[in-house]
Amino acid sequence: MSGRGSHALTPYVAVVRARFGVLLQYRAAAIAGFVTQCWWGGIKVMVLTAFFAASAGAPMTLPQAIDYVWLGQALFTMLPWSGDPDVARMVRTGDVAYERLRPLDTYAFWYSRAVARRTANPALRALPMLLTAGVLLRVVGWSAYALRAPAGVAASLLFVASIALVIALSAAVSALIDALTVATLSDRGVTVLVSPLVIVLSGSLVPLPLFPDWLQPILRNQPFAGLMDTPFRIYTGNLAAGGAVFALARQAIWVVVLVLLGRVVMARVMSRLQTQGG
């Protein structure tokens, strides 16, 4: 074999590309998901509007909260609230043995799959949602409930950087879920535990700034805030530039911590792997 060895990342890039291509085929699911997310987004916007009308001195403005909700609906599938169904299936059937046969770092291999998963689904779903919330609502005359443009040029750039970190962080959580799935021989337990945590603590259910003040220091520093709250507050201008850079650093630190944790779990799990079916 010649002409190889120069591209250490080739296999992992190939895995991302291949998975991405497969996931793009699930168009019907994307349409169904889109409808659901419009519906939930509408409900959330209405609830928040009522909430803001009834209270004064909120930690974010109503338009910020509305942007936060629509972005959350658009990027909902970036959230790592479950593991890779293929990993769960492989654990059930014993095909996981084949994963260990590949000359790849299994953690990086599964991380790559997670990256594909956390980008392919949003790639299908984000644009229609953003168009609906940003353009269609204006066209039909509901400008007050529509998604606005980012808070500024700096906010836009920082938002893009933060979304890149969301992908890294989300894939790290997904890969950790996958490793725990192998450890417990089922994805059920892990998913039941992780998915409410992710949905609440990312700000997907209720924007994190709306939680009580005394909870804010905890909410801000926990890893799941980096999945939604950080980029959305940057986008809406709720986080000023200085705070935004700090928040990006916090996201990055959690990526490193969760990757290391995932690697430790994976190494332990694989060293005492017991595959189904002998």
């Binding site: 010649s2 591209h7 296999p11 014993g94 095909d95 084949y98 000359p103 595959t275 002998g278």
Partner: protein, 326 residues
């Protein structure tokens, strides 16, 4: 020099035993399962080893340790100078493996897409890949299958593709764990032909587990029987037969009714109408003498001497060692 060295390999699994009752989960007990107990053997480059034994005997555990998937509890093992589980990534790049009951192909995608991904995963250079693929397509007759989604393939077609998938990076050692399971006669023959070509013409070392003794008969010069985690026999199929069941079988078709019938040194196994099957020990009663004897006394239409079927030999061997599936 040996390519595969296994010394005193031991694997013990701890299996959780659930107890009944409301608080059964609080009293979880662990049971130890000795999958392999001090297994030792060596294999030269280019050898073909058939690994047989009842379900749960330790065949798959052995293969999985050699593939680097499982870590043994103790013992030494090297494949081509590498310790599989310790240098897993370097090791698996040099071996191929097929698990008959599993799939490594993407269910929804054409076969060619899975192959292309494996090419990238194994970092096979484009020219090498082309050559390997062309060769595999020709040997396994895959031309029409490449563009078919995996879920539309028959089991036999899929298995040919699985085997091709394991050879795209041209490994020097191939592990086949029950590659013919569930296949029809034609597909089995295709798999056997291919494995034979790989082993005889290309010198690929092969370790094969199977429950189909015809696989072993067709392919393996060397057979190892594993039972209860230990090696019970290691040699040629002929020597196993010689140890277990030396008798031969003689089927005689008579031309006329023969009435009471008895030949010294033989036992009647079946008798229906004009045909009789006898068993005899060729060391005491040579076949030619037996046939001459019968032909002299009766009007014989046809005779046929055979060895007992290999399945029967192996079943006897298992029975002797009190092996049954766990």
């Amino acid at each position: 020099m040996s390519q595969i060295i296994v010394e005193e390999l031991t694997k013990t699994f701890r299996v959780a035993e659930r107890r009944g009752g409301l608080f059964g989960f609080l009293r979880r007990r662990w049971r130890e399962v000795h999958a392999l107990q001090r297994v030792s053997f060596a294999l030269r480059e280019g050898e073909l080893l058939g690994l047989i034994g009842p379900n749960g005997a330790g065949k798959s555990t052995t293969i999985k340790i050699l593939c680097g998937i499982l870590e043994p509890t103790s013992g030494r093992c090297e494949v081509g100078g590498l310790v599989p589980w310790r240098e897993r990534i370097r090791h698996v790049a040099r071996i191929g493996a097929v698990f008959g009951q599993r799939t490594q192909l993407w269910w929804d995608l054409p076969v060619a897409d899975s192959f292309a991904l494996l090419r990238d995963v194994y970092r096979v250079a484009p020219d090498d890949y082309r050559r390997a693929l062309d060769e595999l397509v020709a040997l396994l007759d895959l031309e029409r299958l490449l563009s078919t989604p995996v879920r539309q393939l028959s089991l036999g077609q899929r298995m040919r593709c699985e085997i091709a998938a394991s050879m795209l990076h041209r490994p020097r050692v191939l592990f086949l764990d029950e590659p013919t399971i569930g296949l029809d006669a034609v597909a089995k023959l295709a798999v056997r032909d291919f494995v034979r070509t790989l082993n005889r013409d290309r010198g690929v070392t092969v370790i094969l587990t199977t429950h189909d003794m015809h696989d072993v008969e067709a392919l393996a010069e060397r057979v190892m029987v594993i039972g209860k985690g230990q090696i019970l026999a290691d040699g040629t199929l002929a020597s196993l037969r010689h140890d277990v069941l030396r008798e031969r079988r003689l089927r005689v078709q008579f031309a006329e009714e023969i009435g009471d019938f008895e030949i010294p040194g033989t036992v009647i196994r079946h008798r229906s109408g004009l045909s009789v099957e006898l068993s005899f020990d060729p060391r005491q009663t040579p076949a030619h003498a037996l046939i001459a004897d019968i032909a002299a006394r009766y009007d014989v239409e046809d005779v046929h001497v055979d060895e007992p079927p290999i399945d029967e030999v192996v079943a006897r061997f298992y029975a002797r060692h009190e092996l049954e599936a766990r």
